[in-house]
């Protein structure tokens, strides 16, 4: 074997200049491979994940800068053009029962719906990572207590509790933080605060196995503090499942928010989130189905794209897993 290798090496002798350059820069292979590069290479092989990302980027850009380009107001009433079907010149998505332009409303609502999803995901991932890493790293009593707490949260009836808290605490919170900000805050905190359990379990499991590894021992021997070991050394190694959970969490949060809006508990009627638009449109299902179908399809499309993206990321970050 070694002879064969030598023969191979001998057949292609590296020129002295190249060898010197390699030694100087400390590299022996032409191009280093990074984790991000590897992930991207695997991710590219997922056509649905690529399509999902493109759709998602389009939806995000449209809601972020759309209202600035498409300047029609989402609140302007136009009683001459009531319940106009989509495709009408000037009203691409048609209008609602008060003549308000549906495209403008969808763009405005998309901004809210998507940011609620992302913000709620951050709340749940932050909580889940913190609780999971503390439980996994410290173990013992702390672990026992935190896992009991996680089990307790898993046993909570989530949808009834969400409906209840948002409905009951809507008024004082909106009084304190303003109409839209208040509802945004309470929806994000509640949706995120009831969705961290899965992340906590995943992070705890990763921490349990990672904290026994040699690099942690080495860090401890070097005198690195406990919190630095947790968040600087162990956490980056547990990041892959967290990223996947975060991606899929955005989709779940968008569905939860739109469900709350649909049930009439959530953003106030004059704030056109996607879920709210579906509720309002559902009253005209017979005469003007586009009012409910277009915003509903937008929710569906964004969540589907997020799920494909998450699935692609899962395969790319951890080639062994499959679900």
């Amino acid at each position: 074997m070694s002879e064969a290798n030598q023969a191979l090496d001998a057949s292609v002798p590296p020129s002295a200049a190249v060898r010197l350059e390699q030694l100087r820069s400390g590299l022996t292979s032409a191009k280093p491979r990074s984790l991000a590069g590897d992930t991207w290479r695997r991710f590219r092989r997922h056509p649905l994940a690529i399509i999902g990302s493109i759709i998602l980027i389009f939806l995000i850009t449209a809601s972020a800068i759309g209202p600035r380009i498409y300047t029609k107001s989402h609140e302007e009433l136009d009683f001459l053009n009531i319940l106009v079907p989509p495709g009408t010149p000037g009203h691409l998505f048609g209008t609602d029962d008060l003549g308000r332009d549906l495209l403008a409303r969808c763009l405005f609502g998309g901004g809210i719906s998507l940011s609620v999803g992302v913000a709620a995901m951050f709340v749940s991932i932050l909580l889940g990572t913190l609780i999971g890493s503390v439980a996994g790293f410290f173990g013992g009593r702390i672990d026992q207590f935190l896992m009991r707490l996680t089990d307790l949260f898993l046993a909570l009836p989530v949808v009834p509790l969400l409906l209840l808290t948002v409905y009951l605490f809507r008024d004082p919170v909106t009084k304190a933080f303003g109409q839209i900000n208040g509802i945004f805050l309470i929806v994000v905190v509640m949706v995120g605060g009831l969705a961290w359990m899965q992340t906590a379990r995943i992070v705890r499991a990763s921490f349990l196995s990672l904290k026994e590894k040699e690099f942690v021992e080495a860090a401890t021997a070097l005198g690195v503090g406990r919190w630095a070991i947790m968040f600087r050394h162990i956490l980056p190694n547990a990041l892959s499942p967290i990223i996947v959970a975060a991606t899929l969490g955005v989709g779940t949060a968008i569905i939860t928010e739109s469900t709350l809006s649909f049930l009439g508990v959530g953003f106030p009627p004059d704030t056109p989130t996607w879920g709210r638009l579906v509720t309002d449109g559902s009253q005209f299902l017979q005469s003007a189905p586009h009012l409910a179908l277009i915003p509903g399809a937008l929710i569906f499309l964004s969540v589907l794209s997020i799920n494909f993206l998450g699935d692609g990321l899962r395969d790319a970050l951890d080639p062994r897993s499959r679900l």
Binding site: A155, D171, L285, G296, F300
Partner: protein, 319 residues
């Protein structure tokens, strides 16, 4: 085994107590007067309202009320509904059959669909069937159930007129024609839940089968010369079902939550609709009772899932 079950039950009881306490505290500390609707009525003077308050025990501090609520509950009494002026348990018994019908039927269909689809998907991995099934299950858990409901309503009730738009709660099943009517009005609400549940269960079934297929015992079974059908159905399937059975038990509470949405779209007079209307009318005793029932469902089925897992996979009991 008895010890394992006992330990699980002992954990479940305090969990339920804590959940009921939390929900009770939220309801008690929330702003808003449960007697607000009486306050709007000019025919009821302040003194009468005070008397009603006293009668319901609302002038006591809330921890005291919680203990009283627990005492009542121990006797099977959920209290008295403010808005419908009847016993909460009567209200719930009236609504329960509709919810159970829709939810039970939907879950049964979902399980019966998901298991074979999952098996075929895993055995013929990356085949056309698998790819179509995967695509549809992604659609299934990406579409919000209220949107599925509206779509089905638009296509099958409004345009094709195959099914009624609104569930008639006064319909009584007496003969074949009314039975047929009942079946027809249940199709759409049930389908919404089936779509949602089948998607998730199919994925679980598939991945559980895929976990087992490369294992050594499967190779042994094949090496013994067993027929392919026997290897898949007797050996792989039985082992793959262990985690799936527990997931089926765990999914039951979520399907009840899904029923809240379906019932609201199709106006099914079940528990979910009762919950929404009581939250909107601040009918605290009903909300408390329903939240508690949802919590009991979740905890009970978690318990059942744990026990089933212990029965099916003896290794679990000792960890």
């Amino acid at each position: 085994m008895t010890q394992y079950i006992l330990r699980r039950v002992l954990i479940a009881i305090p969990t339920l107590l804590v959940i009921s306490f939390v929900v009770f505290a939220i309801l008690a500390l929330a702003p808003g007067d449960p007697l607000a609707q009486f306050a709007l009525n000019p025919a009821i003077p302040e003194s009468t309202r005070e008397r009603i308050r006293e009668q319901f025990g609302l002038n006591q501090p809330w921890p005291v009320r919680y203990v009283k609520w627990l005492q009542q509950l121990a006797q099977g009494n959920f209290g008295f509904s403010f808005s419908s002026k009847s016993n909460v348990s009567d209200l719930i018994w009236q609504r329960l059959p509709q919810t159970l019908q829709v939810v039970g039927l939907a879950y049964l269909i979902a399980v019966l669909l998901a298991i074979p689809i999952g098996i075929i998907s895993a055995v013929k991995q990356y085949s056309l069937f698998d790819q179509v099934a995967t695509f549809f299950s992604f659609i299934g858990f990406s579409v919000p159930s209220f949107f599925t409901g509206l779509l089905l309503m638009l296509v099958f009730a409004i345009n094709l007129k195959w099914f009624p738009i609104v569930y008639s709660s006064t319909l009584e099943v007496k003969d074949w024609s009314s039975f047929w009517q009942q079946v027809r009005q249940m199709v759409l609400p049930v389908t919404v839940l089936v779509v949602q549940q089948t998607a998730a269960l199919t994925r679980f079934m598939r991945s559980s089968m895929l976990d087992n297929i490369p294992l050594d015992y499967v190779r042994t079974a094949r090496a013994k010369g067993l027929a392919d059908r026997v290897v898949v159905l007797r050996h792989i399937l039985m082992n793959s079902l262990i985690p799936v059975v527990t997931l089926i038990a765990l999914g039951i509470p979520t399907i009840f939550a899904g029923a809240i949405i379906t019932e609201n779209i199709f106006r099914v007079n079940g528990l979910g609709q009762l919950l929404i209307t009581s939250i909107q009318s601040s009918d605290t005793p009903v909300v408390m009772a329903l939240a508690f029932i949802f919590a009991v469902l979740t905890v009970t089925f978690n318990l059942i899932a744990d026990i089933l897992y212990g029965v099916l996979d003896p290794r679990v009991r000792y960890t």
